[in-house]
Amino acid sequence: MIKSTFENIKISGITCAVPTTKEILLEKYAPLFGKETVQKFSNMTGVVSRHIALKEQTASDLAYAAAKKLVEYKNIERSSIGILIFVTQTPDYRIPSTACVLHHRLGLSKDCVAFDINLGCSGYVYGLQTILSLMHSSNIKKGLLLVGDTSNKGIAPEDKSSCMLFGDAGAATLLEKSPGSPNIHTAMRTDGNGYKAIIIPAGAYRNIDASKKMTLWGDGNFRSDYDLYMNGTDVFNFSISEAPKLINEFMIEENTSVDDYDMLILHQANEFILKQLMKRTKFPKEKTPISMDRYGNTSVTSIPLTLADKYGNHFDDGMKNILMCGFGVGLSWGVVSAKINTGDILPIIETNDYFTGGNVAHD
């Protein structure tokens, strides 16, 4: 495993945003697939409802709403932010990096680094490791890790393997240099052999002549090459073996046990997978909160969203030792442990705002 330790930097704020539009699976899909099919899907995956972005609303709009709220709440001087990383697989444009659009919208200074990372389920861990590394090796004092996905925009409307699973969401995490902060530890792995396990094959430059026509795939679902394909069994096999293995190895390496952590926040992949992970890491369900019943699988945002769902309403504030694990598309996975003052985690925002300055101008 690739292991990193960061001193003197803390996570000093987390805000999440979801679209206002909430969709209850049974209401929308029972007429399409039958009540029993939808009920069975909910029983296995845990998803009962989720929030869906408007057609005009992008992942960056959700991340922007979260970032704006966080910067205002923490009363942060915008000129003091030296880095903005945006982790997404649903960017605004093919070119440029959406991080640059967010840098503009947030009014950050030129003395700032901004770029995107293309990762999904593991992206929060990878994003934290990257921003911490860059802060550690530079004079940057404050950084914004923005994440978000509107996965539903890339899914065929009647693809039973994924059309009911995902939710749209975005999040902002503030990192600050702070001498004496408890160390943050990360561990990461990649297995590129599984790059086809979760894929949208067309829309970039490999399959440039791909047809937009929907065809019947081997798994019995209609989709075009521009839609998400997910090999459920391969992803399941990967998730229940590699994620708990990394968590367990990480705890051995850190010389810690389940008792040392207040919470294990898991990427909300599918509740059946989460149950396997709890069993295989021996974390009790009281320490492994679930948010996907109301938000679905929100890709890169599912870790901060689950934190905000758990702590955002401030019933249980204090310094908590949190273990987080993201795993999925890539295939890519990682864990991070950090002590977070849960008073710095804000309630989840609902918004239907979107940026109107980003349209194409043919001048």
Binding site: K40, M44, T233, F236, S241
Partner: protein, 72 residues
């Protein structure tokens, strides 16, 4: 493990009564053989037999007997 014991594991997994399954039953005719059952079988193979079961292997299973043979 005897075949009866293996069948009992599968009956339990598929939420069937004891004795409902036999080796000759075709998976395509089994109502409970859905995506949830396939994922549960992956877990069962790993937990009980320490065996990795791929999606491709699952697609090759035609009868209950094929699953029992894989358990060996």
């Amino acid at each position: 493990m005897t075949n009866r014991e293996k069948l009992a594991l599968l009956e339990n997994m598929l939420e069937l009564e004891e004795g409902e399954l036999n080796e000759e039953i075709k998976l395509s005719e089994l109502e409970n053989w859905n995506s949830m059952a396939k994922l549960s079988l992956i877990v069962l193979m790993d937990d009980e037999f320490g065996k990795k079961l791929s999606g491709e292997q699952i697609r090759r299973f035609e009868t209950i007997k094929d699953i029992l043979n894989f358990m060996e």
